[in-house]
């Protein structure tokens, strides 16, 4: 499936505005309802902000990609980086609301990183139905028990599990803003 839009830019704060603006164009072209477009913009903004703030070491601005595909009534937006991956970050400078906000706004969320050498946050949005639920899927073979980044991650979808009810920091799942220190 050919994505409808692929944006490749530097993970800088000012480029988040470019992404938001581009999503506005996507919403216009696909006649996405304004309230739904607002949700999409906010969720994607949070995902991009996570990349800008957490993916790369301080002072480094690596690449970031935003890929959007529309399939009938569903829009999938993928935010990708080549940074240090997803993991708990107790010293996060943010409020730690990023992933929870994304989960609240998207119909499903998938996280992937590790052997595939890039980190992905994939969000799907129903363009017609109200939000039913938000599932965050962490695609890993094994979830670490400490605050280390998972090293073994399979191809997308080979194995996956929904997160557990233990606190993110304890389970090794993304905590706070979802990116490792």
């Amino acid at each position: 499936m050919t994505p409808d839009m692929e944006l490749a830019l530097t993970a800088r704060a000012e480029n988040i505005a470019v992404v938001r603006y581009a999503l506005g164009g996507l919403g216009e072209a696909f006649a996405v309802p304004e309230h739904k477009l607002s949700d999409i913009r906010l969720a994607v903004t949070e995902a991009c902000a996570n990349v800008v703030v957490h993916a790369y070491p301080d002072g480094h601005h690596g690449p970031m990609e935003v890929i959007a595909s529309k399939d009938e009534d569903t829009l999938t937006v993928l935010v990708r980086d080549w940074g240090r991956g997803i993991g708990p970050r107790p010293d996060s400078p943010g409020l730690g609301l990023g992933l929870s906000l994304i989960a609240a706004l998207a119909d499903s969320v998938q996280l992937a990183h590790g052997d595939i050498e890039h980190t992905e946050v994939r969000m799907t949005f129903s363009l017609t139905e109200p939000i039913q639920s938000a599932d965050i899927l962490l695609r890993t073979d094994t979830l670490p028990s400490t605050n280390t980044r998972p090293e073994t991650v399979t191809e997308l979808g080979d194995t996956s599990r929904r997160s557990t009810s233990t606190p993110p920091e304890a389970s090794g799942l993304p905590g706070r803003d979802g990116y490792s220190a």
Partner: protein, 166 residues
């Protein structure tokens, strides 16, 4: 409201087959080099997206570089022309645009065109009386071979304050 990371009660119901892979795509490049802070590459599928998105991305970058309104308006014409005609000269169903914007000058590249695509795209923007629109607006219009030695790319360079305006 939906739930945050957590909730093991539904974990058992999930397996690999439940993952939708239909929209998983390869990166634009495998391991992209860190780009210049004010450059963006956007690949668009043929359809209604091209015009609205290309214009928004370009205008955001030029505005950030503090370009004057008249040149933003010029760029709108360029974006409209490119998004209208570029797909007819693309080597597949997408067209990639690369934008690099500075305070004085901006470069807009249309990539992945067919061998004669860049020239054809330039020809398509010819207007009666006006002439070639791209050449009227841009300070430089050039055609190069694609980066991988195949196909062609169209390169437009615009200055923030065109000497033609004075």
């Amino acid at each position: 409201m939906s739930e945050l990371v957590g909730h093991a009660d539904r974990a058992d119901s999930l397996d690999a087959d439940s993952l939708d892979r239909s929209t998983v795509t390869d990166p634009i490049v495998d391991e992209p080099e860190p780009a210049d802070g004010n450059s963006v590459r956007v690949r668009l599928a043929d359809g209604p997206l091209a015009g609205p998105i290309l214009w928004r991305v370009v205008s955001m970058m030029l505005t950030r570089a503090d370009w004057p309104l008249d040149r933003l308006d010029d760029m709108l014409l360029v974006c409209d022309a490119l998004s209208t005609h570029a797909f007819a000269h693309s080597s597949d169903t997408t067209v990639t645009f690369s934008i690099q914007a500075g305070a004085q000058e901006a470069e807009l590249r249309v990539l992945d065109l067919t061998n004669d695509g860049a020239s054809g795209l330039t020809r398509d923007t010819m207007l009666p009386i006006v002439g070639n629109m791209l050449e009227r607006i841009a300070e430089r219009v050039s055609v190069e071979t694609g980066a991988d030695g195949e196909g062609s790319q169209l390169i437009l360079v615009l200055r923030a304050r065109s000497p033609r305006m004075s």
